[in-house]
Symmetry: C2
Subunit: 385 residues, 2 copies
């Protein structure tokens, strides 16, 4: 391996998806740690919690009652970050006016959902089987399809999934009132990642604007495609399957890697092997394969430090409203950003230098991948039951 | 105020320093919080801690002894993220090779310092007077001057400060072995910001490369200057002094604002009123004025929630090695990024949506500025003594 030296020296790596560099200091984990320690999360939750606003049948903050749902249940967030209707705002923009250069604002509308993964308060994706995760992926797919613009290049695929994936018997979401631009599916898991309720769930924020991160990725994937005639993530998947050192796991449809440019200690990326533009491109078998990949990541994370591993995860795919070229440029993938570094209680803080100068990590992605490859097998808590 | 509506609607604001947008959802603080609570930091530290590796006279991790220093003391970090000497690495780059496009790495060398603010283990910038903070600023200035490249446009200014600011009687840092590109001064304060030792200190990382954040700022300030013939931050200071609603505090040389594009709940920016390119441009009076500004921010932060307020702060200024044009483009400023949102124990988490899609904040910078304006006066703990 020509890059062996990178295990011993400080270096920068380039993230081609965002077009930015990060600092890698492999030797730095040797320093002693006297700072904050996380409380290892105990698994002493009840299967049903009468005070949880996500459990089946319970009352929510604004008074609505959850149905007695079986698997997943989606509802509009009672405290949404964006709303479908709000006061108008038309900033005056005058190119010669300093305020219109330096005090720029634009309105954003949209709809935010909360989606439970299971009726059980005390489970997580790591505890669920791939088959139990399929309904979650089906719901993501139906919600994405329901929000697609009428002229979207993937409209036929959306129609197909709405006809073939069974409706959720516990309720479906409504089409949006106004066409929206983007849908961000994400999960915050664990108190360390700002999660305010342990009931397994994710959020889906749809917005009238294309947010920064997927926007940057689209631009960079587009440039790569124009320059090289091939897909950035297509090339990357091939390269990683050849090199193997950053591959954590794979099945026929997806590969899990610690990307070359990973910032978070045990960051991984699930990438589709073939060119999938969005959830609606996946067939039945691929949705099961995707569920398997998600399950593998969640279980390996928990096994790594024998803890309920915190992370934020999110899916990037074609925007809800986009051109043929933008849809074609999109390549389905899912990021996992976990903060733990050395144990169940020691976090990697992305703070002073990282915020003011440049993101910095302490172990190499290759070292992280080797550890995650080694902790497959049964979920550690199974044998404790 | 024409922008009153922005207090009630979700909107994006533009950060002209980084060239990126963030989402503002002013109504969102109304949601209940069931997530993690920080432990309010108690001030029960001793003035001298025999186990602290920063206290005067104590032994450090690698066996060196600290001198019995009086004010500040700088030493090379025993666990530096970058080192001056390391194995060579010359990646082969071949434009037609996928690996040289997607697996890019570059070596980084440099030197990392730790700098104590005071001999007292139990003090903070908020407890110190502006006069007591001046030695810190003097040390920053001397270290910056010592690392400046021989052909630097500010070389004369550097010579002047090295002749006029008294040497630190407890030891000075050595000039670097190889010329470096950038110096990042930053402080992580509080366990919530990854600080592993409460003894008041900052870090200074010098590197052979220009990191992402100052790099982006230089590009954006340069473009603004070429387009408008004036300085971005010069225009911005004037605008904020006219508008007043985001100004927290000012003296003759510096203004403290919650910037229009603030991401962290109580983020502030200290900006020089005149065109200062780097620390070495400041005269004696301005260094005192800068110390006053830092003191005001630290004290108001602690007063806001009557706690030892955590934050990361950092100074941006001209790189150590740069062209005449880059030095001219630079405008001295200091960022403060504090994570607390609603109280001493409730943090704002920048997690799922923020990491996967776009940074998001819950109160407006104008609301934050109003609160910080109102909590000047004596440090709250003085009256508890
Ligand atoms: O150097 P320290 O204080 O041990 O470490 C702290 O600051 C560094 C620079 O921001 C970070 O990389 C570390 O994650 C953080 O814990
Ligand atoms: O919506 P929640 O779970 O209450 O809130 C959590 O996720 C949001 C989206 O990433 C963040 O803005 C919040 O800071 C975080 O606490």
């Amino acid at each position: 391996m020509p890059d062996e030296v990178l295990n011993n020296i400080s270096h920068r790596r380039y993230n081609p998806l965002t077009g930015s560099w990060l600092l890698v200091s492999p030797h730095r984990t040797k320093r002693p740690w006297q700072g904050a320690q996380e409380t290892p999360s105990k698994n002493t939750l009840p299967e049903y919690d009468p005070k949880c606003y996500l459990c089946p049948g319970n009352k929510r903050a604004q008074g609505d009652n959850n149905p007695h749902y079986k698997n997943t249940f989606a509802f509009v967030n009672d405290y949404s970050a964006v709303k479908e209707e709000q006061q108008d705002y038309h900033p005056e923009t005058n190119k010669n006016d300093v305020a219109s250069l330096l005090l720029q604002a634009r309105p954003v509308t949209g709809r935010c959902y909360v989606l439970t993964f299971s009726a059980k308060h005390d489970t997580t994706l790591a505890d669920m089987t791939a088959e139990e995760i399929v309904p979650v992926i089906n719901t993501w797919t139906r919600i994405y399809a329901t929000h697609l613009s009428p002229s979207h290049p993937l409209k036929e695929q959306a129609k197909h999934v709405l006809e073939t994936i069974p409706q959720n018997p516990d309720g479906e979401v409504e089409p949006p009132k106004h066409q929206l631009k983007n849908m961000q599916i994400f999960e915050n898991k664990g108190a360390a990642m700002g999660c305010s309720n342990p009931h397994p769930h994710c959020q889906i924020w749809t917005t009238s604007t294309l947010p920064e991160e997927p926007g940057k990725e689209l631009v960079n994937m587009g440039t790569y495609k124009r320059d090289n005639g091939r897909h950035l993530l297509g090339d990357y998947v091939k390269l990683e399957l050849e090199k193997k050192e950053r591959v954590v796991w794979q099945n026929d449809s997806f590969v899990v890697v610690c990307p070359w440019w990973a910032l978070w200690p045990f960051e991984v990326l699930i990438i589709s092997k073939r060119h999938v533009r969005a959830l609606v491109d996946l067939d039945d078998k691929e949705r099961l394969h995707f569920a398997e990949a998600v399950q593998e990541v969640a279980r390996r994370y928990d096994n790594l430090f024998e803890t309920n591993f915190p992370y934020s995860s999110g899916i990037h795919q074609a925007p809800l409203d986009c051109t043929e070229e933008e849809a074609e440029t999109s390549w389905f993938h899912m990021h996992f950003y976990p903060p733990l570094l050395r144990s169940a209680t020691v976090k990697k803080f992305l703070v002073g230098y990282e915020l003011m100068a440049e993101p910095q990590r302490d172990i190499t992605p290759e070292q992280a991948a080797a550890k995650l490859r080694d902790c497959g097998g049964e979920l550690y808590r199974k044998s404790l039951e």
